[in-house]
Every structure is written in structure tokens, then in C-alpha cells.
């Protein structure tokens, strides 16, 4: 599986989005789906930098991305703080302007944009975020 390691810095988000877009484009996804996949990979990576690593650093962010049949499979790995994804509540999208919360929006978008989002964490493998989306 093709794998890349980026320093956990926001300036590498461009490259991360470009990497998943290339795989998705070669895999025959529509432009609309490619945008969704890029956004999901960006939100996941941004969350890792912000929350797992608690800010930008040179810690490793591993990206693995490939087509498996009709599915694109994106795996992001970090060695920072783990979290409980079930504890991330969906934001209340009908709240008015003054009470609207923006926390959890990235996770919410990932779940909406991809078909599956799975999270695993253990000391041996680090934190793994595995997302898939099927070509239409």
C-alpha cells in the first residue's frame, strides 16, 4: 500500500489533499466525490494536528491511500493523544447563530462525506483513522 509520512503541520494539508485526489481521480471518482474525499482527509489531518498532537510539530502523520475494488481507502496514523470518537457529539445544525457550536464539525463532515469512518487506538499501532468511500 502506498504510504507517505508528513510532519504534523498545516502547510502539508495541500499535499495530503493532492495525494488523495490523485488516487481518487485514477480510481474513477467524480469531481464532486473527489472534493468530498479531499475535504474529509483535510478535516481528519487537521484534527490530528490540533487535537492528537495539540498543535503543529514535526511529529509524524502517516497517510496511506489506495483503491480496493470500488472503494477508496484512506488511513491516517498518528502517535499523539487518542480520543473516543463516540464522545464527539454531532453539532446542532439547527441552532441559531448565537448558540451555534463549531466543535465537532470536522468529525461530522467526515462522517457525512465518507461511507465509513473507523477509529482504532493502541500503543503498538498508534491511532488509526480509517475512512472509505465507494465509487458511484
Amino acid at each position: 500500500m502506498p504510504s507517505y509520512t508528513f510532519p504534523a503541520r498545516f502547510e502539508f494539508l495541500d499535499e495530503i489533499r493532492e495525494t488523495v485526489a490523485q488516487v481518487a481521480r485514477a480510481g474513477g471518482f467524480s469531481e464532486k466525490a473527489i472534493y468530498s474525499i479531499q475535504l474529509a482527509a483535510d478535516e481528519a489531518s487537521s484534527n490530528i494536528i490540533e487535537h492528537a498532537y495539540e498543535g503543529e510539530s514535526d511529529s509524524p502523520l502517516d497517510l496511506t491511500c489506495e483503491m480496493q475494488g470500488d472503494d477508496i481507502v484512506i488511513i491516517l496514523r498518528d502517535w499523539g493523544k487518542s480520543f473516543n470518537p463516540a464522545g464527539v457529539k454531532d453539532p446542532n445544525l439547527s441552532a441559531d447563530l448565537s448558540t451555534r457550536q463549531v466543535g465537532g464539525l470536522g468529525m461530522y463532515l467526515m462522517r457525512k462525506l465518507m461511507d465509513t469512518v473507523r477509529y482504532e487506538s493502541n500503543a503498538r499501532t498508534g491511532n488509526l483513522l480509517i475512512m472509505t468511500k465507494r465509487r458511484e
Binding site: 498545516f10 502547510e11 494539508l13 495541500d14 489533499r17 469531481e31 464532486k32 472534493y35 479531499q38 475535504l39 483535510d42 478535516e43 487537521s46 494536528i49 490540533e50 453539532p91 445544525l93 439547527s94 447563530l97 448565537s98 451555534r100 463549531v102 464539525l105 470536522g106 461530522y108 463532515l109 457525512k112 462525506l113
Partner: protein, 111 residues
């Protein structure tokens, strides 16, 4: 990302080009905050040449909309929102928080 601001009598037209993500959103936020600091609360954001915006950009829009609408002193409106970005804003439930316009002249004239 590239931002240009045009000041009109009744509002600012802020044109944002390129990509807004966690890397560039702080600069986008800063431009919007600066407008507010100068007492400009009526803001039209022209997205015609915006290629990409993540939730980091959405957060900046939300914070600015809150600040502008306080005391009824103004509002942020969005202009020429590209389809992909509109879809993402919709998914995030943001479309009902912002008026949108297809024409910058109409947006500027709405204030």
C-alpha cells in the same frame, strides 16, 4: 490564498481566492477581524475564485457573522459561492446563517 478588500460607502467587498484551510484560515480570520476593528460590519465576501474551504474557514465565517450581527450593526453575506463549497456549507448547516448573492453589485447594493 489571496485576499483583496474593496471599501464601498456602505460595505466592504472582500474577495478571497485560492484555498482556505487550517493553514490559511488564520490570515482569512485576521482580515475579517481587521475590518471589524475599523468599524466595518457590513461585509460581502466574494468567493468566485475560491477553490476550496474547510471547516477552518467556516469557523472564521461564523465568528465574523456573530460579531457583525451584534447590536444589529451589520451582516456578512456570501457572493458567487462555487458549487462544491456551497454543498459543504450546506452539509455543515451554514447556508441558513448567510444570505447569498450571485452578483457582487447586487450584494453591495443590498446594504
Amino acid at each position: 490564498m489571496e485576499i483583496t478588500t474593496q471599501e464601498f460607502k456602505h460595505c466592504d467587498l472582500i474577495k478571497v481566492k485560492g484555498r482556505v484551510d487550517s493553514s490559511t484560515a488564520p490570515q482569512f480570520s485576521k482580515t475579517l477581524e481587521k475590518a471589524n476593528e475599523h468599524g466595518r460590519f457590513k461585509i460581502a465576501i466574494d468567493m468566485a475564485e475560491l477553490e476550496y474551504m474547510s471547516s477552518a474557514g467556516f469557523r472564521a465565517l461564523l465568528a465574523t457573522q456573530r460579531n457583525c450581527k451584534r447590536y444589529n450593526r451589520g451582516e456578512v453575506v456570501l457572493v458567487r459561492v462555487p458549487e462544491r463549497i456551497r454543498e459543504a456549507l450546506e452539509l455543515a448547516g451554514f447556508t441558513e446563517l448567510f444570505k447569498t448573492f450571485d452578483d457582487p453589485v447586487e450584494a453591495v447594493g443590498s446594504f
